[in-house]
Structure formats: structure tokens, C-alpha cells
Amino acid sequence: MTLNSNKIWWSIFATGLLPLLVLAIEIAADSLGANPIEAIHIRLGDWALRFLCLTLAVTPLQTVTKWRGMADYRQLLGIYCWFYASLHLFAYLAVDQAWEWSLIGLDLLESRYMWFGLLAYMIIFLLGLTTSKAAKKILGKRWKKLHRWIYFASFSAVMHYFWQLKGNLAEPAFYLVVVAFLLAFRLLACFKNRQVSLLMIPTGKRHSV
């Protein structure tokens, strides 16, 4: 890793901590509004979703700019998604529900939007668990397959957002568009690659005429 890319890595690392710092200051200053617990949920959930989108944006960016070697940044962004999603879940369990398992159980059973959140988190957790180079080596080809589950996680996370709201659907709609766009980009690239590779397969007919 060159010094330059190292610098980039560290600045992403530092920036990723900023939302948490701002939240901590706002909690200390009691400036999160009339329902601070809900505000904490929204902040942490939003940042988990934002880092998820950023993680997904790395590959398209790499393709467009032809700038190689962004995998390390993608990993870091992914870890931040995992970090904020974990805090989001922790805030729900500890700050909001105060570990009242009977109420948590009922909530999980009856709140369908929670099912999507949980599914998204389980996937993100698994991807976070297998983020290391060692895990990548052990899993081999399966690693890539496993990490494609990030698409399920992102759609599930967006559903989790949509399904808990009464009105105000603009924000989840925005994330839906972003995720759909990033996925569409990949599908298109994949389709194009296949066409290119089809052209590269010698058919034996082309020169026969």
C-alpha cells in the first residue's frame, strides 16, 4: 500500500467516526428533540444504510474511473455499515427496550418491519464476520457468493425503513432509488461483460466464408 492510499484509508476511517461523535455531542447537549430515543434510532439506522450504499458504490466507481485498488476502502466502508447497524440494534435493545425481553419478544413477533431489519442485520453481521483476508482465503470462491448477499441486505434494510412509517416516505424512497441504481449498474456491467466475452469466443464460422 502506498503512502497516498494509506492516507485515504485513514481519512475514511476518521470521517466514519464523525457521525458517532456528533451524536454523542447531541446526546450530551440534550438537543435530539422531543423523542431522543427515536432520534438515536434514526441517526444510527440512517448511517448504517448510508455506509451500505457507499460500500455498494465502490465497485461502480472503480469501473467508471478505472481506478484499481479500492477494495480496502470498500472493506472499511462495509465495516462501518456493520458498526452502525450494530449500534442501531444495541440502541433498540438497551436504550429503548431496556432489555425487557418479554416486550422485545412481542415486538419482534408482531412488527413485520423488524423482520426485515433483523434479516438485513444478520446478513451484515455475517459479512462483517468474514471480512478478514484470512476468511477470504478460507472461503475461496464461496466468499464472493456470500458477499453478494449484500443486495438482499440493502433491499431488506430499505423495506425495514419503509414499513415502519405512517407518512413521510420520501427518505426510504430515496434509498430505494440509490440501491436500485447501484444494482442496475452491476447487472448492466455483468450483461455487457457476458456479451463481450461471447464475442471473444471463437466460433470458427467467422472466417469460413
Binding site: 429503548d96 425487557e100 416486550l103 412481542l106 423488524m114 415502519q164
Partner: protein, 317 residues
């Protein structure tokens, strides 16, 4: 690499809790003062108490810890203006609420019209402390000021054909952005009750809260308060009341009939299709405080359960 070890905070550095909270109060009052200075009167009790020593009706709920006025004034659903609770207080200031009149018509012998002043000075005005439970699973305890609705309805002499009551909110697309853009719901906002629900002594037409006239974001100048039902039934800025033979179409029910019922009685056993109603976050309660377990009819079962005797509350949700 320098590895810092955890150091215990010496007791001399721990802030005395009294100092801490005093400092916080000071900061808050400074903030409130500056908010006033730059013209955000709705951010604090700037109107001054209009009512003092109003009788607290026998139907007011005893033994509840009243939610501080601040969250009640700042955390509002007002879908005519916005779907963002934090913005409602600012946007709602645009609605002129004086003069205002309320008409009661439909299946009545004697249609009546009230001017706002008649209601603000009504002899039966009283304070009612009620739990207020939103369908979004948060709640507060509000000291409302209002008139038992039955008094106003009876003045119009309902006909025997009257079975339902329809409430219609103000229609001002020039002022209310979501009405202007026909966003999401069918405007104006309409709510409805069965006549016996509307005549129940717990049902009030509210003109104030916390000893003051209603802030605009809380539904000034007139709103319904039906404490055993989800908050969306308690329609804001009412301009007319009609007594009807049949059940009226109501706004949220019309928008998503499987999610928001006509009755909308608070009931922990009937979840919203997308979220649980078993518990609620009480506004003003601190971090790491458990949610409150939601009660059937929001805790008013003793007074209202008889209205629904023999009804399947899962079906008539």
C-alpha cells in the same frame, strides 16, 4: 504505539449532579429566551396562561405524571403541513385561527354555529388530564382544556335518525402544503365517531392545553380529544360537525383500510399490520427506561368497554 490505560476519574472531577442540572436549566432558559427573541413563540409558553383554576372534571385521569409541555408542543403530526413531526410546529404558524367558527348540522333539529369566543368562554370549560396514545407507538400525558362534546351536540338537538358524527377539518390549500399538492391523503381531513362515542363524557372538544390556548401545531383553535382511541382520531382544526345516518368515510381509514380502522381503539392485542401495538414510548421518559405496556382502551376500559360489548375488536379494529 502509545497504549493508554484506563484511568479512574478522581472524585474531585465528577460534577456534582445539582450543579449539572442547574447548569442545564440555565442553558435551557437561555435557549428559550433567545428563541423568543428571534421570534419562535411556539417554542415556549410565550402566550401566557389564559386559564387558571379551571375545574378539573371528574373524568380527568388522576395519578398520572404529566408530560412536560415542551415535547407536547414540538413533537406533532400535522399531515396537512408535513409528515415530519419536528417541522409541524414551525409550519403550522401560518394558519390563521382567529376568527373561527364551528357549525353543527346534519341530522339535528336545530343546526348551530359557534364563534370561537363562545367556546373559549364556555361555562362548562374544564381541564382533563388524559393519556394520549399515537398509532405510531408513542404516548404522552396531556392536560387538555375543553368542553364535553356532548354539551355542544345536545344543544343542536340530534334527531333519532342520527347515528354517527363526522368531523371536518379546515381546508386551506393556500396555506397547507400537503393540501395544495394533494399529497398522500384525501383532503380535507375527516374523522368520525359513532354517536354514542361522541356523546361519551370522556370525549371533549379541546381549545387549550397546559393552561393556554392550543398551540397551532396541536390543532388550534379546536380539536377533538378521544382518549381511548389512537391519536389520529383526534382531528385538529375542526370547522364543522355533521350528524349522519351512516358511518362517514374517514381520512386514514380511507387511505389504508387494513391499517387504520374506523374504530381505532387503543388495543395492545391487535397489532398494526406492520408494527406491534403492545408497548409505547412515553415521551419525556429517559434513556434505558423500559417502554410502557399499552393498555386496552388506553386504560379507559372501565368507562368505555361497555360501548363495544359483544363486538369482535379484531374485526372492528
Amino acid at each position: 504505539m502509545i497504549i493508554k490505560t484506563k484511568k479512574a476519574v478522581p472524585s474531585s472531577e465528577i460534577t456534582d449532579p445539582g450543579v449539572f442540572s442547574a447548569r442545564r436549566t440555565l442553558l435551557k432558559s437561555l435557549l428559550a429566551g433567545s428563541a423568543l427573541a428571534v421570534g419562535f413563540p411556539w417554542a415556549s409558553g410565550a402566550f401566557g396562561a389564559r386559564w387558571q383554576d379551571l375545574p378539573r372534571g371528574e373524568y380527568s385521569t388522576e395519578g398520572l405524571e404529566v408530560t412536560p409541555a415542551d415535547p407536547a408542543r414540538k413533537y406533532n403530526n400535522y399531515s396537512e403541513f408535513t409528515f415530519n413531526k419536528e417541522d409541524a410546529a414551525r409550519l403550522a404558524q401560518a394558519l390563521p385561527t382567529d376568527p373561527w367558527s364551528l357549525s353543527i348540522a346534519g341530522e339535528v333539529q336545530k343546526p348551530v354555529a359557534y364563534a370561537l369566543e363562545d367556546l373559549l368562554n364556555h361555562p362548562r370549560l374544564q381541564e382533563r388530564i388524559y393519556r394520549f396514545r399515537c398509532v405510531e407507538a408513542w404516548s404522552m400525558v396531556v392536560p387538555w382544556i375543553g368542553i364535553p362534546l356532548t354539551e355542544l351536540l345536545q344543544a343542536a338537538q340530534p334527531l333519532s335518525s342520527a347515528k354517527f358524527v363526522q368531523f371536518t377539518a379546515v381546508y386551506r390549500p393556500d396555506i397547507m402544503p400537503n393540501q395544495r399538492n394533494s399529497t398522500m391523503l384525501a383532503w380535507p381531513y375527516v374523522e368520525g365517531l359513532r354517536l354514542d362515542e361522541a356523546m361519551h363524557p370522556l370525549t371533549i372538544l379541546s381549545v387549550g392545553m397546559y393552561d393556554e390556548v392550543l398551540p397551532k401545531q396541536n390543532g388550534a383553535p379546536l380539536r377533538l380529544v378521544v382518549p381511548w382511541k389512537y391519536g389520529f382520531k383526534s382531528i385538529k382544526a375542526i370547522v364543522r360537525i355533521d350528524l349522519l345516518k351512516r358511518a362517514p368515510m374517514t381520512t386514514w381509514n380511507n387511505y389504508a383500510p387494513d391499517e387504520y380502522g374506523f374504530y381505532a381503539n387503543v388495543n395492545p392485542a391487535v397489532p398494526h399490520p406492520r408494527w406491534s401495538q403492545s408497548s409505547e414510548r412515553v415521551l419525556g421518559s429517559g434513556f434505558f427506561t423500559p417502554r410502557r405496556e399499552t393498555e386496552l382502551f388506553n386504560g379507559y376500559g372501565e368507562q368505555v368497554a361497555s360501548l363495544y360489548q359483544g363486538m369482535d375488536l379484531r374485526h372492528f379494529f
